[in-house]
Symmetry: C2
DNA sequence: GTGAAAGCGCTAACAC
DNA sequence: GTGTTAGCGCTTTCAC
């Protein structure tokens, strides 16, 4: 196949795009061999200063850009890690990803981000695609990826899951917030404020929700109080919230901020003063909590730290660790006006 | 360099990772040539059924995965597009990206996502990195990328900006919400409700904010009302909001939902009934608006559509279009309880 | 200092 | 049907 004749044209603001220049083009332009170009571009000394300048000038003039894939192919490494998240619309995931990115950046690693959009099949496909793109490690910010997929991935590269999957996968590290402790903090906070009738509201029954429930029950038991759990399913949410508000509880711990804010809105509509008649706590410390009125007491899982920890686990695997690790990050209570008048 | 001896081991749940198998390994395992493996894996007919089965079985057994980079190198295309956003923590960006992704997926294109974290230098670096990874098109969900960077990128591949940059860059397509129309909708809504004293609140003076202001002023002028603009800088926000609430306005249009929710909270604190004493509108129709109390009237820019439109522009450039296009998406008013009792 | 040559994993043209 | 070969853009010995 004859090589397409390189046109002399290389306009900057032209729709007339030319073939992407390679080091061979730069070499020809500068009148040297292609290996010299490679060395010069990477700043290797062992290239004369004059030659190097000439090469760099040629590269700039031609608009040369390194082809990362070609380099990765020969070097056998890409310097990239993959981050696959359940749903980027959820700021929780976005902030964990942020933590991963920042930590990766300071390790000199790039990040490919993929969004599963809540579809397990798509999540699995993204995991596979990441491996296909030769990432050097994978952070899965999701509790919905099939363990088989994770195991297969972990057979090729370090994999760490952020969150609480239904089961742990051998060979896969994990990082999670200490849900039981977080719920305990919120419960103890309410108990300390003198509440005797504290209800727990959740829409989910997944591992994280179960752990939080456990923390709630433990704290109440320790104070000799009776736990009371309300399921708030997506359907009939309104009725379930009303039932909760009518239950006589003076405080409600919600499994997350969205649920809490929903209860808050309904309390307003029914004229229930918050926190005087009803104290409310959320979980996650999202923007929603910080901007609700009254501002919502919540539990901060330290999302960026979750992400940074995930990257640290990846790094230590890359450094040779072989035994599995499961990190638990202690959360923090953020008291606000929804509990403290 | 002698090739590392391929160990026979290929355990699934072992930390003992082996060299990644290539088509050569699969070929050896199946007792055929590597080209036959390549054909079989891509489902080319011209491979006997029995042979193909044997090859596929070998591939599965070895845990073979296609090396996307190697394929891209030889094919000259990656089938990937790049999406670079200002800040993924902002759900606006996340949802635009979502729209791009979905549209790309249905075109058979994969997506690399990169997060600029509000840093123009990092945004620029991501744009460059995307080109290095040989994406076939680039969507920049940001109004902060230097025009020179965009121009240089557009010289190599199709580039479309979502949002309102300070200046348009020749060779770069764009998609934006019709800010003036959106602000007009909100203003007309308030005017129709009988408000005579409508203030406009903004913290920004960037192009999008300026367009919204223009739409506001135009609508008020048409109704013979006097416009009144309040700047709410990040510093002294509280005082500025108080001044706004004390100004005698019966309605406030905020430049975005965050600002609106801030005014809303302060109104609650000062006992101003919303919407009876003060009507409020936001912009963006974020989750914040939908969950505030009372629920906030806002303007929906149709974020996923912005993203999908960006991808359509990319696709038509890839199809050969050379003249620039600038799409404007009409927004929609979402009336809620913060204006309508 | 500089250049020639081999090879990363894959595809595609062409022979057998 | 099947195998051989060249080559994508780059890095990396190894000679000169």
């Amino acid at each position: 196949m004859p090589r397409p004749t390189a046109s002399g044209h290389h306009g900057r603001v032209t729709a007339n795009r030319t073939r992407r220049p390679t080091i061979v083009d730069v070499a020809a332009h500068a009148g040297v061999s292609k290996s010299l170009v490679s060395l010069a571009l990477r700043g290797d000394d062992g290239v004369g200063a004059a030659t190097r300048d000439r090469i760099l000038r040629s590269a700039a003039e031609l608009g040369y850009r390194l082809n990362a894939q070609a380099r990765a192919l020969v070097q056998g490494r890409t310097g990239q890690i993959g981050v696959v998240v359940t749903d980027l619309r959820n700021p929780y995931h976005a902030e964990v990803a942020l933590g991963v990115e920042e930590a990766a950046e300071s390790e000199g690693l790039g990040t490919f981000l993929a969004n599963g959009r809540r579809d397990p099949a798509r999540l699995a496909a993204h995991v596979e695609a990441m491996i296909g793109h030769n990432v050097e490690g994978l952070v899965v910010v999701s509790s919905r990826v099939d363990p088989d997929i994770l195991a297969a991935a972990a057979d090729r590269l370090p994999v760490v899951v952020v969150g609480r999957p239904e089961t742990r996968t051998p060979g896969v590290d994990s990082v999670a917030n200490d849900d039981a402790a977080g719920a305990g903090l919120a419960a103890e906070h309410l108990i300390a404020l003198g509440h005797k009738d504290i209800a727990y509201a959740t829409a989910s029954n997944r591992p994280a929700a179960r752990s939080r429930l456990l923390g709630y029950e433990t704290a109440l038991a320790a104070a000799g109080l009776r736990p009371r759990v309300h399921r708030l399913p997506d359907a009939h949410r309104r009725d379930a919230v009303d039932a909760l508000l009518d239950s006589g509880a003076t405080a409600v711990m919600a499994n997350n901020d969205v649920l809490a804010v929903e209860c808050l809105g309904r309390a307003h509509e029914r004229g229930l003063a918050v926190p005087e008649r009803l104290a409310l706590t959320g979980y996650d410390d999202t923007e929603l909590a910080a901007r609700a009125w009254p501002r919502l007491t919540s539990v901060d899982q330290h999302r960026p730290l979750l992400g940074a920890t995930a990257l640290a686990l990846l790094a230590s695997r890359l450094g040779g660790r072989t035994e599995d690790r499961h990190e638990i990050i202690p959360p923090t209570l953020v008291p606000r006006a929804s509990t403290v008048p």
